[in-house]
């Protein structure tokens, strides 16, 4: 682990990622959420870059570049496009208000810290990264539950994915390149398909409010 995880730089970037997660959770505007997500992805790309620099492995460089291009540029652009085209109401609509959600988010972070400590870890920093990623997964899921718009569900799942990415890169310097590329491809195509589906939902039901989509019950 040595150089890279020992550095203050890494710790502060991970802290910033946590902050960006709370930004996504706490913003009242869809655009702000997307920007926060963009920021988070950019930070992840930075982490991947640092890991690549300290290990000198080419494949992690590629992963860092891919993260930057796909997660920090392409996907946020897609979000903005969908929001603009569908003329979605800018305000987020939610089941649980912003301040209680932030509180619950805090509780989730505490749970994940305790969890990672109880698993028992060797290096202090990778446990730091691991608990952050665990918190991101939980918060992403919580985000999906409490938001009504289908776009928010999309955003939630991407935050969860970012969490997994952080866990992978902090524990094992990322997955094998082939797997990593596959995941990127998955996310991109998945996002595209979700975007298309949101368009379809909009034209069929005249809303993308998932709260109304309850006829699957029967």
């Amino acid at each position: 682990m040595g150089i890279m995880f020992g550095s203050e730089l890494m710790e502060s970037i991970i802290a910033l990622i946590m902050v960006s997660t709370f930004m996504v959770l706490g913003s009242k505007q869809l655009h702000t959420s997307v920007s926060a997500f963009q920021f988070q992805s950019f930070l992840l790309a930075c982490i991947a870059g640092i890991v690549a620099f300290s290990t000198g492995r080419i494949d992690i460089y590629i992963v860092a570049v891919l993260t930057l291009i796909i997660k920090a540029i392409l996907i946020p652009y897609l979000f903005v496009y969908v929001i603009r085209e569908l003329k979605v109401k800018r305000e987020v609509e939610l089941f649980i208000n912003i301040s209680p959600s932030l509180l619950i988010g805090g509780v989730l972070v505490v749970i994940s810290y305790y969890l990672v400590r109880s698993i028992g870890n060797n290096s202090q920093l990778s446990s730091y990264a691991l608990s952050t990623s665990m918190a991101m997964v939980l918060i992403g899921m919580f985000f999906m539950i409490t938001r009504k718009k289908a776009i928010s569900q999309m955003l939630g799942i991407l935050i969860m994915e970012n969490g997994l990415f952080l866990a992978a890169i902090s524990l094992t310097y990322g997955m094998p390149l082939l797997v990593e590329v596959g995941i990127f491809f998955d996310i991109l195509v998945g996002t595209l398909i979700m975007g298309v589906l949101i368009f379809r939902i909009n034209t069929t039901f005249e809303t993308i409010d998932t709260d109304r989509l309850t006829t699957l019950m029967e």
Binding site: L108, S112, L115, I119, L138, M144, L213, T215, E218
Partner: protein, 672 residues
């Protein structure tokens, strides 16, 4: 080594048949020949193979694998006996199918059926030769699934789909119980190899042993069709094409008996008295109720299906009496009971397949399964009638045909219970003899009805009027099994000897020298009774021509059938199947719970009826009082679970989230 090649030859011939069926499926005629001639050749190889194992040593092929998943084939005399039964039946059915499938030309995909047909027989052969519980479960499920697809071959009919659904649910529940039973045994032996299961009963605690027995009984009983697990038979057998029902009823349900013998005798040791008694009671109820419901049926294939329930009961009577003797420490008597059961098993395979093929021939030329709309077929289809009659005589247990021999043996096995020290058990077994007697009598009545109403008298409908004799291949298939019925009857002394060599390793003692002498078979220990069907047959052949010669001199005048010499007689005043079974319906009214409704519409006065409608049906007791409440209960429980099915995506996500967080917290608290 030659046997290895022979066995692989059987397997590959069936596989080739299956592949050819798929490849050639565009041409109906080609594919019919290709698939059924393959299965015919494979059946011939199977008969040769089974005979060489039966008169030789146990045959084993081990396919290397891991310690848990050791696939392999192990064929001892019992397996060989079953391969013989399967092969003889499939040989006849293959020939029959060549003609029978012309019915489906241009309507259905013959290749699809040919593929399933070959795979079905192959799976049955593998079921009786598997040497490992895991492999057994795989081929057993294969057999179940293929037979399901065969049942729903005519899936465009809604009642066929319903039949298939009932069948697949029942058979899967049964497999579940089988797996439980195997797991209990494997937990004690530490391996899934059947070899390690041998005598495992001694290592299990009594409670586990009883559970293994009960699970095996439920699991295999479902496939065999014992009451009250029989409800799929009267649906599945009529729904399948007749050649398939011949195989399913004739041999598939027997594979369950095969495993019962293995599990009860070889694995668990059959040393608990109440097992035998429980099985005996179940067997008696199955045979009695089976024949009673058969009597009320007018659908010829449903009638035969209920008779399968009855005959499985008779086979199990032999088996259970044998288990009772085993637990009493009387292996010679146990051998006698087992021989009786196995004898009835091969007999039932022969005559039931024959009768199903006969029913198939009737359907082939009249396009109806309702015997009330038949009549007079003996003049249109003399050969079919002849073979059906042989089957009917055999199933009614009249000498010198095969059914007689095995029921005679079963009766004597029951009478031998006087040798038991426990008087209560003796009385019970003797009482079961009464049940068997009643069963045989009712079976005879039922086949008087089935044969008389469909083949004798005058045609009742257009269907019967336009009937034609079926193609020669179909007659040949029925002819082979008719011949086997007679052969197994008159060569009883020889067959008993062969069956003794099958049962001897299972019960530990051979009794061939005691029960056969010359052309006679008798009972152990001291020839309390003996009989020779060979002599009966010879006497019959000698004296049968006598009345014909004597009556030749008389004057015969021709009148219409059953016309009592009256000049005007139509099909409308004939005896019907409903009328025939009426006395029995009244007599056993408590069981049948018959309903009758009479609707009459009147003109002006009470005395002038314009139309009259009569309806009569009987209750399906088990479906109504056992299965329906169970289904209701299941539905009610499921309905109460619907509360959590809100249909909202957020709610489902919240469920997942809540479970995840709870599990994580439990890890934290448990981990620290």
């Amino acid at each position: 080594m030659d046997l290895t090649y022979l066995f692989l030859g059987i397997v590959f011939t069936y596989l080739i048949g299956a592949v050819l069926s798929v490849v050639l499926h565009r041409n109906d005629r080609f594919v019919t020949y290709a698939s059924f001639i393959s299965s015919f050749i494979a059946s011939v190889l199977g008969i040769i193979f089974s005979f060489s194992v039966m008169f030789g040593d146990t045959f084993v092929i081990d396919i290397p694998g891991s310690s848990i998943l050791q696939f392999g084939v192990s064929i001892d005399k019992l397996s060989a006996f079953f391969i013989m039964v399967i092969s003889i039946t499939s040989l006849a059915v293959s020939i029959y199918s060549i003609g029978y499938m012309t019915e489906y030309f241009g309507k259905k995909d013959i290749g699809y059926l040919g593929f399933l047909f070959n795979m079905f027989i192959l799976s049955m052969i593998l079921v009786v030769s598997a040497s490992n519980a895991v492999m057994f479960i795989i081929v057993w499920e294969l057999m179940s699934v293929i037979s399901y697809f065969l049942v729903i071959y005519e899936h465009e009919k809604p009642e066929t789909r319903k039949a298939g659904l009932i069948y697949i649910i029942m058979t899967h529940v049964g497999t579940g119980f089988i797996i439980l039973s195997f797991l209990i045994m494997a937990s004690a032996s530490g391996s899934f190899d059947f070899g390690s299961f041998q005598g495992i009963g001694g290592q299990l605690s009594p409670a586990l042993k009883d559970m293994a027995f009960l699970f095996a009984l439920l699991g295999f009983g479902t496939k065999a069709g014992i009451v009250p697990l029989h409800i799929w038979l009267p649906y599945a057998h009529p729904a399948a094409p007749s050649n398939v029902s011949a195989l399913m009823s004739g041999v598939m349900i027997k594979t369950a008996i095969y495993m019962m013998v293995r599990v009860f005798f070889e694995f668990l040791g059959a040393d608990v008295l109440w097992w035998g008694i429980l099985l005996l009671v179940v067997a008696c109820i199955s045979s009695l109720l089976g024949v009673m419901y058969a009597l009320m049926e007018h659908d010829i294939k449903r009638l035969l299906a209920y008779h399968s329930v009855e005959n499985i009961g008779i086979i199990l009577i032999g088996l259970s009496v044998s288990m009772i003797f085993m637990s009493a420490g009387q292996p010679e008597l146990a051998a006698f009971g087992l021989i009786a059961g196995l004898y009835h098993l091969i007999n039932h395979a022969m005559f039931k397949s024959l009768l199903f093929m006969g029913a198939g021939s009737i359907i082939f030329s009249t396009h109806t399964r309702d015997i009330e709309s038949l009549g007079g077929l003996i003049k249109k289809m003399p050969w079919t009638a002849f073979f059906f009659l042989i089957g009917s005589i055999s199933i009614s247990a009249l000498p010198p045909f095969n059914g007689f021999v095995s029921e005679w043996l079963t009766f004597h096995a029951q009478l031998l219970s006087t040798n038991l020290s426990n008087n209560l058990v003796t009385v019970l077994v003797l009482g079961s003899g009464a049940a068997l007697a009643l069963t045989s009598a009712l079976a005879a009545a039922c086949f008087v009805k089935a044969f008389g109403i469909s083949f004798l008298a005058l045609p009742r409908t257009e269907h019967a009027m336009n009937a034609k004799e079926v193609p020669k291949t179909m007659l040949a298939g029925m002819g082979i099994l008719s011949f086997m019925c007679i052969l197994l009857g008159i060569l009883a002394f020889h067959v008993a000897g062969i069956l003794d060599s099958v049962s001897a390793p299972i019960v530990g003692t051979g009794i061939a020298s005691t029960i056969t002498s010359g052309l006679t078979i008798g009972t152990v220990p001291s020839f309390a009774g003996s009989i020779s069907t060979t002599w009966i047959a010879l006497l019959l052949i000698l004296f049968m021509p006598l009345p014909i010669i004597l009556l030749r001199s008389g004057i015969t005048s021709k009148y219409e059938t059953w016309g009592c010499g009256q000049p005007f007689s139509t099909a409308r005043n004939e005896y019907t199947a409903t009328a025939f079974s009426k006395p029995i319906r009244k007599w056993l009214g408590n069981i049948y719970r018959p309903h009758r409704e009479i609707h009459a519409t009147y003109a002006n006065s009470h005395f002038f009826k314009t139309s009259f409608k009569f309806e009569s049906h009987i209750e399906e007791v088990f479906e109504q009082y056992l299965y329906e409440p169970f289904i209701e209960l299941t539905l009610a429980v499921s309905r109460s679970f619907r509360v959590i099915q809100t249909g909202s995506i957020h709610a489902y996500l919240a469920y997942i989230f809540a479970v995840l967080v709870i599990l994580l917290i439990s890890i934290i608290t448990g981990g620290i």
